[in-house]
């Protein structure tokens, strides 16, 4: 008798819960992005949480929202990663390609140190100590948190302690924008090649004292621009990329050589 009771109990529980769940899934169904299921089907489904997201479904949602990248999943095969990329890729191509650009040109050769810093070689840690060792309180500290965080290896540390962005590898994921304690990275349209390589809100005199290539807010660029695309606000020149045509007029007139034309890759774009 005991064995029959056991079989009946477990079978009964299973059937009741099964029917209950089926009914609930109909009643409480939520319409979701069709890509979500497709991506989820190509993920390992182990829910290991190693990507830092809550399970594979959370990871799939993160992929669609752009908060995480495919390579975060250590378990999935190369093939399924490519498939996921192609599911996501169609929309990414339709969007305007963007690039991360560093708004500072004062490397260790140009800007002196105001103090000797011997702590952890980390931008966030250094920034916590009087805003870092550099004389310019707004400029790049140069310990390369952005280099470490870039999931595509697109950022390398240049000779003058300034991070260099490889335009071919950069996917504008925004990781460097988020991690920089000085907020020096912005995402600009890849077609715009002009940047104001300075983030200093100090007055012209103070900026000049700290850095030879800092923006001194002389407003010459503002007067030169024919498209109303560059404005000096709060002692700093800022480009409006919606209006900028990359004509380069401001680059020629800038007395401090702060406004720069980003070097385009030597090969022709395709």
């Amino acid at each position: 008798m005991n064995i029959i009771a056991a079989i009946l109990t477990v079978t009964g529980l299973g059937i009741i819960f099964g029917i209950g769940l089926a009914a609930a899934s109909k009643k409480f169904c939520v319409v979701s992005d069709p890509r979500l299921e497709k991506i989820y089907a190509r993920l390992p489904g182990a829910n290991c949480g190693a990507c830092g997201m809550p399970g594979c479904m959370g990871f799939a949602e993160g992929l669609i929202q752009g908060t995480c990248t495919v390579d975060k999943c250590a378990v999935s095969q190369e093939e399924s990663r490519k498939e996921i990329a192609s599911i996501l890729g169609k929309e990414a191509k339709a969007k305007l390609k963007k690039l991360a650009v560093l708004l500072c040109h004062g490397g260790c050769k140009r800007v002196k140190n105001k103090m000797f810093y011997s702590g952890i070689k980390d931008c966030i840690a250094a920034n916590a100590v009087l805003g870092g060792p550099k004389a310019c309180a707004y400029g790049c500290i140069g310990y390369g948190n952005c280099v470490a965080v870039c999931p595509f290896g697109a950022i390398t540390m240049g000779e003058d302690c300034l991070p260099q962005v490889d335009e071919k590898k950069c996917t504008a994921c925004g990781k460097c924008v988020a991690i920089c304690p000085k907020k020096l990275f912005i995402l600009t349209p890849a077609t715009s090649i002009v940047t104001v390589a300075c983030s200093s809100h100090d007055t012209g005199k103070d900026t000049k004292a700290a850095c030879p290539v800092g923006c001194i807010a002389c407003k010459i660029c503002e007067k030169t621009c024919k498209f109303d695309a560059i404005h000096v606000t709060n002692n700093l020149s800022v480009i409006d990329y919606a209006k900028c045509t990359s004509c380069g007029a401001c680059v020629k007139v800038c007395p401090a050589k702060t406004i720069r034309m980003r070097q385009l890759p030597p090969k022709k774009k395709s």
Binding site: N2, T9, G49, G52, P54, D122, I124, A125
Partner: protein, 202 residues
């Protein structure tokens, strides 16, 4: 019903028998979701929610199905069945009814479905509170309390761990130890520290 007994359950589950650091249950989530404080707290809340309610439900199943039919040896399979379907059901309901709550901890619910900590509480309840000396009411509410405080203990360990790991992100760690290996070392040290609570006697 005795308040002091509840206090004993609380201190026992949060500190002395902390599910992660003393019983070593639920380690997958403990290592996986403890990289940042915010998800860690959400995960802890979700576990607390699930352990509390599943304690009550498994108590009912144990009391009114398994004991009368004398088939208590089936508790593992029936508890897993009940917990898994219950968590799935709650996830669906929360997702439909409250997107805010879903974002807070609902997305962590699938991770918990077969979490050993949740099953651990249920099994521990059936072992502890069905002995002689507990009335039916006491047994039920102590089970619920044990489930709740086991979740709180889980939440505490998650918050501690994620705080430490956030700080470790900034330090210069030798490459072989970076990330997970170091997290295991930290977990072992925390576990040693929690062993100190074993000295409590009531």
């Amino acid at each position: 019903m005795d308040v002091s007994k509840f206090m004993v359950v609380m201190i026992s589950m949060v500190f002395i028998n902390n599910f992660i650091l003393s019983k070593f249950l639920g380690l997958c989530a403990f290592i996986g979701v403890s990289k940042e404080t915010k998800p860690a707290i959400s995960m802890g809340l979700a576990v607390t929610f699930v352990t509390t309610l599943s304690s009550m439900i498994t108590w009912l199943i144990y009391k009114f199905l398994l004991i009368p039919f004398n088939i208590t040896y089936l508790r593992t399979i029936s508890f897993i069945l009940v917990i898994a379907s219950f968590v799935q059901f709650v996830e669906m309901v929360v997702r439909k009814t409250s997107p805010g709550l879903y974002r807070l901890f609902g997305i962590y619910l699938p991770l918990i479905t077969v979490n050993c900590a949740v099953l651990g509480v249920a099994v521990l309840n059936s072992e502890t509170f069905f002995q002689e000396g507990y009335t039916v009411q006491e047994s039920f509410w102590f089970s619920a309390a044990q489930g709740f405080f086991a979740g709180i203990g889980f939440l505490l360990a998650m918050i501690l761990m994620s705080g430490i790991r956030e700080r470790l992100e900034l330090t210069d760690v030798p490459k072989p130890f970076k990330d997970v290996p170091l997290a295991f070392i930290i977990a072992s040290l925390m576990s040693l520290a929690f062993m100190g609570f074993n000295g409590f006697r009531f």
